[in-house]
Symmetry: C2
Subunit: 446 residues, 2 copies
Amino acid sequence: MSKPTPISGFPEWTPAQRMIEQFVLDRIRATFELYGFAPLETRSVEPLEQLLRKGETSKEVYVLRRLQADTDGPAGDDALGLHFDLTVPFARYVLENAGKLQFPFRRYQIQKVWRGERPQEGRYREFLQADIDIVDRDTLPAHYEAEMPLVIGDALRSLPIPPVRIQVNNRKICEGFYRGVGLTDPEAALRAVDKLDKIGPAKVAELLAETAGASEAQAKACLALAEISAPDASFADAVRALGVSDPLLDEGIAELTAVVETAAAHAPGLCVADLRIARGLDYYTGTVYETQMIGYERFGSVCSGGRYDNLASSGNARFPGVGISIGVTRLLGLLFGAGALSVSRDVPTCVLVAVSAEEERPASNKVAEALRSRGIPTEVSPSAAKFGKQIRHAERRGIPYVWFPGAEGDEVKDIRSGEQVAAAAGEWTPPRADLKPLVGPATAGA
Amino acid sequence: MSKPTPISGFPEWTPAQRMIEQFVLDRIRATFELYGFAPLETRSVEPLEQLLRKGETSKEVYVLRRLQADTDGPAGDDALGLHFDLTVPFARYVLENAGKLQFPFRRYQIQKVWRGERPQEGRYREFLQADIDIVDRDTLPAHYEAEMPLVIGDALRSLPIPPVRIQVNNRKICEGFYRGVGLTDPEAALRAVDKLDKIGPAKVAELLAETAGASEAQAKACLALAEISAPDASFADAVRALGVSDPLLDEGIAELTAVVETAAAHAPGLCVADLRIARGLDYYTGTVYETQMIGYERFGSVCSGGRYDNLASSGNARFPGVGISIGVTRLLGLLFGAGALSVSRDVPTCVLVAVSAEEERPASNKVAEALRSRGIPTEVSPSAAKFGKQIRHAERRGIPYVWFPGAEGDEVKDIRSGEQVAAAAGEWTPPRADLKPLVGPATAGA
């Protein structure tokens, strides 16, 4: 085999980075469960027709083909693609299992997704998402739109990462406002405003004229709306000051006010009403969310979502939902790239049991067994080399303790301090901070 | 959308089953870490040329294709396939990162794999594997072959599943013995004997004659070897009684004796030397493992692996390894199918906070926040319906407690006993057994 090379867009973390990722996933999952979300995994593949319902993303889909497809295989094998998010599979799952589920159904889902995009900085072709969604049958109370940021705020606050700011908007505000100023194609207007960060206000005004038929005054009003941002319900006054009136606009203002006020009661400073947030995906119908990590704003949102009323429906059955998705790979990719996270060692091991001679290995195994039975991660030395070499084996991995079995009693050495004390495998316990690798923000100079 | 249907071979567990699976994965992972294995995830895709190095499995590979592949995409996109196990990607990872890794390198890896096989009972096209491997540079001490069953024994014993029996053999015994009786193509003989369970001894004898050129006496000797099985080192006497002598055979007997004796010292009854175990994959060169779950023997191995000396090598660099893989989906599929596992409720939620009126929701949110801050999984009621309806909401999900905020103090009701007591959200704690869903073997009649 010639030396293999990385494949662009398919990241692979080091074992140390994977330890950090697992720590992060455990914390996220614990928060999701504290809020009563049940776990779910869906298969990685969906029928292509499901994946292509949203035209915009079709070019990103990876299609599967069996290498030696034969005629006796089940039909339709060629019509499977890898999912590109967890919302579309979840909507499908709800429809397929509606008869067995209890509604409202709260679930979390932490899985890989795949997008065959052209690779670029910060874009991955395979990445991990951590989603929560709540779906209900027929109608979904608006208070769930206010709950989402609380969950995400708690989940991200439990991590050793910079603080985040969740930017919230409501599609009803945009659509109601656009209609209120007399635009007849609010979706086109939304798509134009969605490009504000990328192309700036002048170009958005041009686009509004071209694609949504906006007059100069209408475009100006749309841009004025998009400029509104407030950490509290005062955004509503700013909207009303623009003098536009529409029933859908009023509904959106009331809903967004509830989201911002609920968030302020729970976690002051977490949420900000930001009326430029549009989200590209067509299926959102109410609140939409994006999330900036402070200090990493230029890299875009690390956690996004919104309310969707029409994603899961079949005949008369309709399952409106709201969801939000943490881009775990994206988040970690940014922080790993900045060297902003650290772990105290490269292996889970707390103790390396030395081997004095190969025929004494069973005695070292017994020590390891006793330590493990009390929850202490332990390895036995690979060889009966000189003790200096065995200690270096531990040192290179950051294993803090080396254990020496002895005919007249065992000893354990803290190889950082050099301190060596008598110890019994059935009793000795390391300091709590040494038991497992510690994950945290990288310390200066690390 | 028309009602979607399952896709054969791509299983999806219910949320309750997924809770059981997560419990199982947490336990497996904890054991792997107790033994000092570091976590690793590799990308889901490998270059096709990597996946096809073992000819036998090529028909199982799923190839990826971007739906709208364009000429400006990176070359080679069409030459990617989904991995069909975790050993081949791991070997590739070791070669790619050899300069950055510390050897011997112990890693575990818990990931989905995909095989485009024709679906049949107990066979999946997408399934979860939990692997451990140890690789070293140049040479790998044989004691690691004895360590594998200890880890697996501990991991599986930590689960609420039937006991297992790990069947162990050593390729050197088979190859040495076949050479010792005068067969010149030991691999052909191995492949024939590997079919013993499927086609029986008479057909294997025919196959040995046809494919390995065995005489009647040679075939009889091969079958006699395959019949040897012992829970201890006495298998060696049985082999020697067959009167065949070969240096490789002696080496294999010594190694297998060490594996069986180490296992017996650690976990009596866990391992059995079973000389019919061959494993289909060509890359094994030493100890091989299969695992039967007692009562489910007819479904085949739930945990397999072996030593491979030549999987990861490049130029002069050579990384022999030994590994074993728990077929998590296979294991759980069998137990779910038999109704042999249960979880005490369908959601993580321990407490449902009732809402007396929609305008009182913030008060209920405050209670939930206080309970969650002390680690108690809590949901707030979806609506301010009559309390009877809110209680039924909890009942249907198995949520044990409903909390009633009140102007003159809160109360909490155990809806199983009906007992309702005064409580404060900052102090009340549920019994430990109620805090999280309990996973265990299904009780009779459940």
